[in-house]
Symmetry: D2
C-alpha cells in the first residue's frame, strides 16, 4: 500500500490484508515524492484536463506504480495486481506506468478476468460478497459512492452520482468545508515561485518552504475555507463520459497562483506555445502516459519555458474563492513606464497607425474579394 | 454614442458633446444586438483570452463599430474618429472593424496625431487640460483609474492599477458587490441551452428567455452575489503587458454553465478540436479581428460543433461562487448504464486488456530503445 | 469483393472463392463512390499522413466497409469477416467503419483468433498452407512482399521490405514506370478546381470532368511518367513503425495542384486554421475514424474553408516531377497591383515602419529582460 | 556587404559603392556561420513555410543582421540602412533582427521615406534613375525580375512573375539545370545525421563532413540534376499574397533526407508535438522573429526532440527527383521482428481485438446518439 496522503487507518488495512490472505503487507510513505515529483510538475505545467480537472488521481497513479515496482522487485515478485475496474482510467494509468518502467512485468487485473466478471456484475455484487464473507469495506449505504483520496484531492464517483443531474450531497465532501459554513474572516497568503515551482508560502508569521509542507498547509487553509470543489462530466480515455466530483483545496490555490505569475512573467508568444503543450500534457497524464516518451518530452519543453517564471503572488482565500490581489517579480517583462497612460515613455503613438493599417490591408482585400464573389453570382 | 449597456447619463453626455463643439449627437441603443450577436456568440464559443479574460471590452468594439459606420453613412460622413489611446487594444479593434466593413473610410485617432502627442504626454495632461477648459470628465482624484463599461462587464486599468502589486481598492467595483457583503442566502438557477446558446434562465417562478433579458437578469443576480471579478496581467496585441481588473457577473455565470453543458454534450474528440478553435478565436477577437475572414470562419466551425449542445444546467450562486449542481439533456452521449460501476452493461471488461496492451507496445519499445542508447554510450 | 480499382481478375477470384467454400460471391463495383466520396474529399482537404503518405489504403477501407455492410444486410448476414492481420491498420479501419455504421454487427478476424494464431506464425506459414492445399495466392517467391491496390494507389510492404535499408526493387512497381524509362517528352495539363474539388482536367484537346475519369486519366499520365512514388517508414495506429512503399500517380498530381490553388485562393489565416484541421483529419483517416464524429466534423469545417478554392492550375509532368507552371482564379485574394514592385498602388510604405516598430517593442523588452536577468545572477 | 554565398563580383560591388559615395566598404564572409548556425538549424527543425518554401531568404536575414551590427559597432555607426522594399518581408526580418540584438540602433529604410516614395513609384523608376545617373544594376530588360541569392537558394520575384499565371522562363534559373537537360545518369548519396544535424555526406569515394562543404557539394550535385525548384504564391507577413520562384538544390536534398531519418527515429507522439512546433517556427522565421523569445524557445524544444535523430539515409538524385532508397540507425524504434508479417514475435494478435472494441465504444455511442436526435425531430 502506498501512503500517498489519504486519510486511512493503515494498521487496520494491514490487519485486513493479512486476514484475507496476504502473505506480507508493505506500506510505503510516498508523500514527499508525490508532492515534489508529481504535484509540483503539474503546478509548474498548469495541467488542467478538459479545462477543469486538476488531475489529482491521474498524478497519483504513476507515483504509486513506482512504489509497486520497487516493492515487487525487492520481494522478487513477477506479478503486480490492482483493483481498478475495467471501465475506468486507473487500470490504464497503473498498467502503462508499470509497463513503461518494467516491460517484463505481468499484471493481473481481477476486474477484467472472466472468472470474476461472470460472477460479479459490479460494485454491488462485490459489496454483497464482502459482507457475506466478513470483509470490511469503506463504502456503506450511508455513503453510496466510491472515492479515491490522496494528498492532492479526493474524487467521488458512481453510486448516486451516476445520474449527472443528482446534486452531490453536502456530507460527501471530506477535505473541504461547505463554503457557507467557512469562517467569516478571509486569509491572505503570499506564494513565491521559482522556475514555475512554488518555493514558499507565507501568511502572518508563518512560512513553509518545502513541497510537502506547502501542500499540506494549503490543503488545511483551503479546506477550512471551502476552496477547490468541482462537479463535472468528463471524457474517460476509453471513450465513456463519466461524472466526477472533486475537491482539491491546496492544488486549486497553487493553480490559481501559478497561472497568475506565469502570465506576468512569460513572454506573450512563449506563453501561447506553452499552453498548447500544457493541453497535450494534460491529456497524456490523464490517459496514463506520465512515463511515455511524449510525457517526458513535453515536460522538458515546459520546464524550459518556466525558467523565467519567478516571483510572488498575493492571494486572499474566502469561502470558496481564491482572489489574486497582486503580483511582483524582480525580473519581469511588465514595464510600468512603457504601458502607462500618463506618459509616452519609449512608445511612439504614431507607430500604432502603421501597425493597424498594415493589419487592415488583408481585411480590406477580403472585403474586395467578397464583393468580387458576390458580383460573380 | 452607443448605448451598449454602460450606466451613463446620456442626456448629460449629449449636452457635453454639443457644448464642446459637436454639430450633432446621435445616441444609438445597440444593447440587443450586443447581447444577441456578440455576447451570445462568445458564450457559445466559450471564449476566454489567455485562460481568464471573458473579452467584455473586445466584444463591444465591433458592435459599436457597426453603429459608427451606420451613423457615418446616414450622415454622409467620410471620417470616423475615436478616443482610444495609442498604446491600447481598442484603437486596433475599432479601426480593424471599420476597415473590414468599409475599406474606404478614413479614421482619425487624436491620441496618435503628432499635434496632440507632442502637446499631451498622456492622461494626466488631458485631465489638466479638461479641468482648465471646463470639460467635465468622469475620472477624478477619488477614482484614479480609467474604466470601460458595457452590458457585459466593466474593466478598470491605469492609474494606481499600473503597479501590478497594488491591490484594487474595494470601492473600485461598480457592477458587483463585495462577496463578503453579499447575501447569506444563495440563489439557485437553471439555464437552458440550445445549439450552445442560452435560451432561458429560470429561478423560482421567474423565467427569462431572450438574450438581453437573460444577460441583464444574470448581471443583477451575479452582481448582488459578487460573482465574476478578476485581476490579471494580460498581453496586449501590440506586445505590452498590462494590468486589468474586470467584473463580468452575468457573463461569468453563462461561461460556467456553458462549459458544463458543452462537455456533457459534445463528443470527446470534437470537444478537443473545438477547444483549439476557441483558443484561436479568443485571440482573434481580443486583437480586433471579429470581422476578419478567420474570425468569420472559425465562428462558423464552432457553430457546427455546438449543434449538439442542448440541455440544462443547474447552478447555485453564492458569494463569488458559481457552483454547478447538475446537468441534463434529452439527447446526450452520457450513458448511465454503460458507465455504471454496478453492471457490465454492453461493456466487455476483457477488451480493456487488449486496449492497454496495445498502448503499452510503444512504451515498451521506448524502454528498449533507451537501454539500447545507454549501451551505445 | 469490392472492385475498387485494383487490377484483379474478378472471375478468377470468384472461382477461387467458390472453390474454397464460399456459398455465394458478390462483387461490387464501388469505383465511382470511391473516387467521388473518398478520394475527392481527401484531395479537397489536402490529406497527408506524417507529411508524406497520401492515404490511398486508408481511404479505401471505409468505402469497402459501406459495401460490406450493404452486402451483409442484403444477404441477412450477421457477421463480417476480413483478412487483415493483427498487427496492421486495416483491421482497425474495417472494424471501426463497420461498428460506426452498424453497431450491432459481429466481426470475425481470423488473423486474431487463437485457433489460427497458434497454428500459423504469419504469412510464411499461410503461404505454405495455401500451397499444400492448392489455394492459389498472388504472392510468390518472385514478388516477396505483400501489396494492396486500388484506384488511388498500390502499397507494398513486408517481405524483403521489412529491412528498411533494403532498396525497393524496380520490378516491384506496377502502377508507375521507372522515371528513367519514362518518355522524353513532358506532358502539360490544366486542372480546374471548384470549392476545393477537381472538376476538370484538360490537356491538348482532351477534357475529363467527372471524378472517376479524371482520376483514371491522371493515373495513366502519372503512371507513364513515373510520378508519385514514395518509400517511407511510418507509425501505425497501434504504435509500431513499419516500412511502406507507395505509388499514387494520379493522387499525387491532384495533391500538388490542389495545394497550389488552395494557397492562391485561401485567406492567410484561414489557411493556417485549415492546415491544423487537415493534420488532425489525416490522423483520423489513417487510424480508421472516417465515420467518427470528429471525422465528420472536421470534414465539414474544411469544406467551409474550401468554398473559396476555385480556379485553375497549369502543370507539367516529367519523369517523376510535377511542376506547377502557373495558376489563375476569377475570384482571388491575389492583387497584382498591390503587390507590384513597380508602383505604390494603395499601399503606403510608411505604414510598414509603424508595423515593424510595434512588433519590435516586445523584442526590445525581451532584450531588456535578459540583461536584467543576467545582472541578477 | 555580406558574402553569404551569392555569386557576386565583390570587387566590382566595392568599386560601385565607393563610386556612388560610400566612405568605406566592408565585405564579410559569413558563409560558415550561415551554414552552421542557420541552415543547419532549419534542416534539423524541418522548417517549411506554408508547406512548401524552405525559407532560404528568411534564414539569411538574421545572419546578415548579425554581421551588420558587428560592422556598425566596430565602426561606431549608430544607423543601419537597408534597401528592402516597403511591401516585402525583408525589411521586417532585418529590422526585427537588429532591434532584438541592439534595441538602441536606428534604422533607415529609404524605400519607406517620404522623400523617396513620392519621387519614385517603384522599381521601374529606380532603374530609370540608375541608368540616368550611371549606376550599374543587375536587373536588365533581359532579366525582368528581381532576385535574391545566397548559399542556400536563389529566389525570383516581381517583373513578369507578378502575373501568377505567367510561366517562369527557363533562362531564369541560375543555380539548377533544367531537369530535362540534366545527366542521364543518376547519383547515389548517403547522408549521415546526428541529433538531427547532417554530419556527413558520402558518394563514391568522396566524403564531406562540415556544414559549408556539405551544403556546397549538395548544391553542386542538386544543381547539376535540376533538383529543388518551386513556383508558389505565398502569404507575406504584411498580408499580401506574392508569387515567388525558388531554387534550393542542396537544401531540398537535406530536407528530404532529414524528413526520412526523423520519422524513422522519433517516437510517434514526440513527432506530432515536434511537427506543430515546426509549423510555428516556420512562421516565426518567415516573419523575421529568428531572435525572438519564441524563436529561441521553440528551437530549444525542437533540439530536445532531435536528440534521438541519428542515422543514415541513402538517396538517389535524378532529374529533379530525390528518391529515398533506404535508411538505417544503430538506435532505432523500428523493430523488424515485431512488425514482421512472418511471425508473432512479442505481439499478441488477440490484444488488437480489445484495442479496436474499446475504440469502437465511442463510435457506437455516437451512432446511438444520432438515432436519438433523429427520433427527437
Amino acid at each position: 500500500m502506498a501512503n500517498i496522503g489519504q486519510d486511512e487507518d493503515f494498521e487496520e488495512a494491514q490487519k485486513k490484508a493479512l486476514k484475507i490472505g496476504a502473505s506480507k503487507v508493505v506500506i510505503d510513505d510516498v508523500r514527499e515524492q508525490f508532492a515534489k515529483e508529481y504535484v509540483w510538475l503539474a503546478v509548474q505545467a498548469g495541467l488542467l484536463y478538459e479545462s477543469r480537472y486538476l488531475l489529482g488521481t491521474s498524478l497519483a497513479r504513476p507515483c504509486i506504480s513506482v512504489g509497486l515496482i520497487k516493492c515487487a522487485k525487492e520481494n522478487k515478485a513477477k506479478y503486480i495486481s490492482h483493483g481498478a475496474t475495467g471501465k475506468g482510467n486507473d487500470q490504464v494509468r497503473f498498467e502503462l506506468s508499470c509497463y513503461s518502467l518494467w516491460p517484463e512485468v505481468k499484471i493481473i487485473a481481477p476486474w477484467r478476468l472472466e472468472e470474476f466478471t461472470t460472477r460479479f456484475q459490479g460494485r454491488q455484487d462485490l459489496l454483497k460478497y464482502a459482507s457475506e464473507n466478513g470483509i470490511p469495506v469503506s463504502v456503506t449505504p450511508k455513503a453510496p459512492w466510491s472515492m479515491d483520496a490522496n494528498l492532492m484531492h479526493i474524487s467521488y464517483e458512481s453510486g448516486i452520482l451516476e445520474n449527472p443531474n443528482n446534486e452531490a450531497p453536502q456530507d460527501l465532501y471530506l477535505m473541504t468545508k461547505d463554503p457557507k459554513l467557512a469562517p467569516q474572516e478571509s486569509v491572505k497568503l503570499e506564494i513565491r515561485f521559482q522556475n514555475g515551482f512554488p518555493i514558499s508560502v507565507h501568511t502572518g508569521d508563518v512560512t513553509y518552504d518545502n513541497p510537502l509542507d506547502i501542500l499540506m498547509f494549503l490543503n488545511k487553509v483551503g479546506g477550512e475555507h471551502g476552496v477547490g470543489r468541482i462537479d463535472i462530466v468528463e471524457n474517460r480515455f476509453i471513450g465513456l463520459k463519466s461524472r466526477g466530483v472533486y475537491e482539491t483545496p491546496g492544488g486549486f490555490i497553487l493553480h490559481i497562483a501559478h497561472q497568475d505569475i506565469e502570465q506576468f512573467c512569460l513572454d506573450k508568444e512563449i506563453y501561447r506555445v506553452k499552453q498548447t503543450l500544457r493541453d497535450r500534457l494534460s491529456d497524456f497524464v490523464y490517459n496514463g502516459f506520465w512515463f511515455s516518451p511524449e510525457g517526458q518530452y513535453v515536460r522538458s519543453c515546459i520546464g524550459l519555458a518556466e525558467e523565467s517564471v519567478t516571483g510572488s503572488v498575493k492571494l486572499e482565500i474566502y469561502r470558496g474563492n481564491v482572489f489574486v490581489l497582486g503580483r511582483s517579480s524582480q525580473v519581469s517583462l511588465y514595464n510600468e513606464d512603457l504601458v502607462s497612460m500618463d506618459k509616452h515613455s519609449d512608445f511612439s503613438p504614431n507607430d500604432a497607425t502603421g501597425f493597424i493599417n498594415i493589419h487592415a490591408l488583408r481585411l480590406k482585400e477580403f472585403n474586395r474579394f467578397q464583393n468580387q464573389r458576390k458580383n460573380m453570382k
